[in-house]
Amino acid sequence: MRVIGRLDIKNNYVIKGIQLEGLRKVGDPIELALKYYEQGADELIFMDAVASLYGRNNLFHIIEEACREIFVPIVIGGGIRNLSDIAMALKSGADKIAINTQAIRNPKIIEESVYQYGSQCIVGSIEAKRKGNSWEAYIENGREETNIDAIGWAATLEKLGIGEIMVTSIDKDGTKSGFDLDLVSSINKAVNIPVIACGGAGNMQHINDLIKSCNSDISAFSAASVLHYDLLSITDIKRDLGVF
């Protein structure tokens, strides 16, 4: 199981909100990325939290700098609109590209990018919010609803050829109250590609609950607030999970 550090970034600062809102500055992206790398992170996710608002991704220079010292896989997401954005992201040193908004607006970008760069390069990012007994996929960093069922969308993304799914529970994001276990396990069951669970990690119990709810078949999870506020370190998490 991979333990991933997630950095949501706005205007060159790592920020963190609750349920993707009320964003607060928590630190410098390079400093935090290096800290998590040194703690033994298996992977790092850099998300541009406001890219969709401005129609551009601002992280390329940050990724470029981070990659000089960080030698684990890097995922970049937020505001990726077309193949030239993907080319720039890869050129800056990212290994995987997470796509949400543009995948829903124009699913062709998934097929085209998978053809060009391979499925291992493209991560389908789903931001989901509970709605009765199901979950709705949101775009624009949780600001816009789509009426698309998140579980069905995960299956569609797999058919389009992506290599991995990253699911963020908007309800749980930043709350440190545990993962949305029903959401993650439903998506995990709906596809036969690796799934990264995001949103809600607050302590070891939450991580163990996640593993249990997915019958030990969850590929990865990301943690953000709990790392940013030093409530847990990646070293602690990996030691408790028995992965070194």
């Binding site: 000089r68 030698f71 291992q120 390069c121 036969n192 690796p194």
Partner: protein, 206 residues
């Protein structure tokens, strides 16, 4: 003059992290598709992600398959990484049968599992047979975790070509090959933290 590592540029995949790793290790490298420049290097790295067929077409389109074969014949070392390792094999079954460089006898086949694919993640390296001394894994601890991302894997015909194996959901996968001066890693040493960097460092020093 410091010795130089040629990174074979065939217009595919992400080589930035390999370049960054070599800079970190104080090695001089050149990313090029020019025959003369590649043949002048002391060693080569053949990188690669993505599909086998496309990779081979890109190599052949630039005449780089010939350059690699010629380079190998001089006895200088080559390291193939991920798809770069798979292309060293005789052939692949990805999208029909595609011939590879045939430097390592064997096939590239889909990982025979019902579990999730791609295999994305960190798994342990162990020896299949023989020792790691005098190889790029000489300084690597047994059971080191390294990073894999692949759906297909190489299956060498000759047991002696296996340098290391790993396990994914109980299935043994060839993690590294070695045949004389030819090396390949299915995992990404440039993305495997300090364990990976020490493998590249060893390659630089051989």
């Amino acid at each position: 003059m410091k010795r130089e590592i040629g990174i074979v540029d065939y217009g595919i995949g992400n080589v930035k992290s390999i370049e960054n790793a070599l800079i970190k290790l104080n090695a001089r490298s050149i990313l090029t598709s020019h025959e003369d420049q590649l043949l002048n290097c002391d060693k080569l790295i053949l990188p690669g992600v993505g599909a086998f067929k496309r990779g081979m077409e890109n190599l052949q389109g630039r005449g780089l398959d010939q350059v690699i074969t010629e380079f190998i014949s001089t006895g200088k070392p080559l390291l193939g990484i991920c798809l770069g390792m798979q292309m060293l094999f005789t052939k692949s079954e990805e999208f029909g049968t595609t011939l590879g460089l045939n430097l390592i006898e064997g096939d590239v086949r889909k990982i025979p599992t019902k579990s999730r694919l791609p295999h994305i993640g960190w798994t342990n390296l162990s020896a299949k047979n023989g020792s790691w001394s005098n190889s790029i894994l000489e300084t690597t601890k047994k059971q080191s975790r390294v990073y894999f991302v692949h759906t297909y894997a190489g299956f060498p015909d000759n047991e002696s070509d296996y340098l290391a194996v790993t396990k994914y959901e109980g299935i043994e996968i060839c993690a590294a090959v070695r045949k004389g001066n030819i090396y390949g890693t299915q995992f990404h040493p440039e993305k495997s933290g300090t364990a990976g960097l020490s493998i590249l460092e060893k390659y630089i020093s051989i």
